[in-house]
Symmetry: C2
Subunit: 234 residues, 2 copies
Amino acid sequence: MTKYEMIAGKIRQRIREEVYPVDSLIPDQVSLAKEFKVSRMTVKKAMDILELEGLILRKRGAGTFVKKTALSEGLTASIMEYEGLTKQLANQEVKSQVISFKLDFPNELTQEKLMLDKHDPIYKIIRLRVVDDAPYILEHTIMNANLIPGINEDILHQSIYDYIHKELNLQFGGAHRIIQADKASEYDQKYLDCDEHDPILEIEQVVYLEDGTPFEYSRSRNKYNTRSYNVVDF
Amino acid sequence: MTKYEMIAGKIRQRIREEVYPVDSLIPDQVSLAKEFKVSRMTVKKAMDILELEGLILRKRGAGTFVKKTALSEGLTASIMEYEGLTKQLANQEVKSQVISFKLDFPNELTQEKLMLDKHDPIYKIIRLRVVDDAPYILEHTIMNANLIPGINEDILHQSIYDYIHKELNLQFGGAHRIIQADKASEYDQKYLDCDEHDPILEIEQVVYLEDGTPFEYSRSRNKYNTRSYNVVDF
DNA sequence: CAGTGGTCTAGACCACCGT
DNA sequence: CGGTGGTCTAGACCACTGG
């Protein structure tokens, strides 16, 4: 733990406990540097973190203020993470029903999305995610099989992301997402317990490793009134 | 323009022109500091920018690499901005048809979303955004009338955001969004040229000023196959 | 073990805001 | 104008990676 992280933590706590109330001026960097016995640069780095989290507003010549939203925000995470469902719904029971699991070659769209050659092998996976015994999300996933080897039905019943992280020791680097509405296909109707005219929310995404290699292209579909996509940005 | 922004710009250009190709090692910070005749801290700050933009990957002990995605990304902006339609579709002809424009008091939901008292006045605006003569988005907007005074039909036909920025001199500070699918209401059907069973994509958002004061609560609805919501994150 | 990036310092100067 | 935050420096030490 670095000094600036410690200091950011202390200030964050003071904001939450309203020692520094909403809309008020925070002590200046020189005073804080003295209090924490560090250089001003270190205090500034701590403030950089809090600004990224959306807790404070800094004005040259005026000072640093606590934002009105500092308390009301549930979480500080800037965007919904691409951690997979298992982590997002940690408290509820998430099961996975494997509908289809094949090895195949990529079509043109997939070649482009995953930066692949037409002869590179891919996994084609269709899973139904079930939460508390109700169908929740129908996931069509395509993965680079050379990059993520050794997938089997056992893993598919649990968390693919855990496997990639902990077994293969690969780090994630980001994702591109397209969120759109769509009509229910027969597939959706069959597995998501929905009507012919129920709207579907689809999250199409490409997920990257930390060096920028795309490893997954997926479309996650759910019935319109079961799930939304949330974004917080500052 | 600061030194570290200049340096970030130069390095960014070298990456784009493949002087530093994808997957390659960038010269170390000490060499770059010498080349640009600055201290190493300044080079590091430049690198901080490029990392935020998702162009590079830094590994302690190893070096700094160009990410595979550095070239393929259209834009570096981390999230779609809340600039309003007028700016997003700068090249196309965007018109606004004002369907309804009233002054009113907030209901409970609005009081909560906009941090208002029940006696605070609000604008209730319904606009149809028309692009190239086709209906595009139906916007239900509620604004804090004390915060954003002086709105009139003239402004509603153009860009409210420009008015807030340039006339009122207020800066934006962020937004919360919920993206979801919904069934078409009679209202949607009437104005968006859609069928009873066409899915609707709705973006519900609260937009904040830089000090965290919420000033707008809106729901933007469009037919399922006309618009998607895109997110890029690193 | 050499070389990398990350942290931290003490101090300097600058840009900006309010009075 | 005084006080704020932003930038920048030169140098030190540390943590980590790779051969």
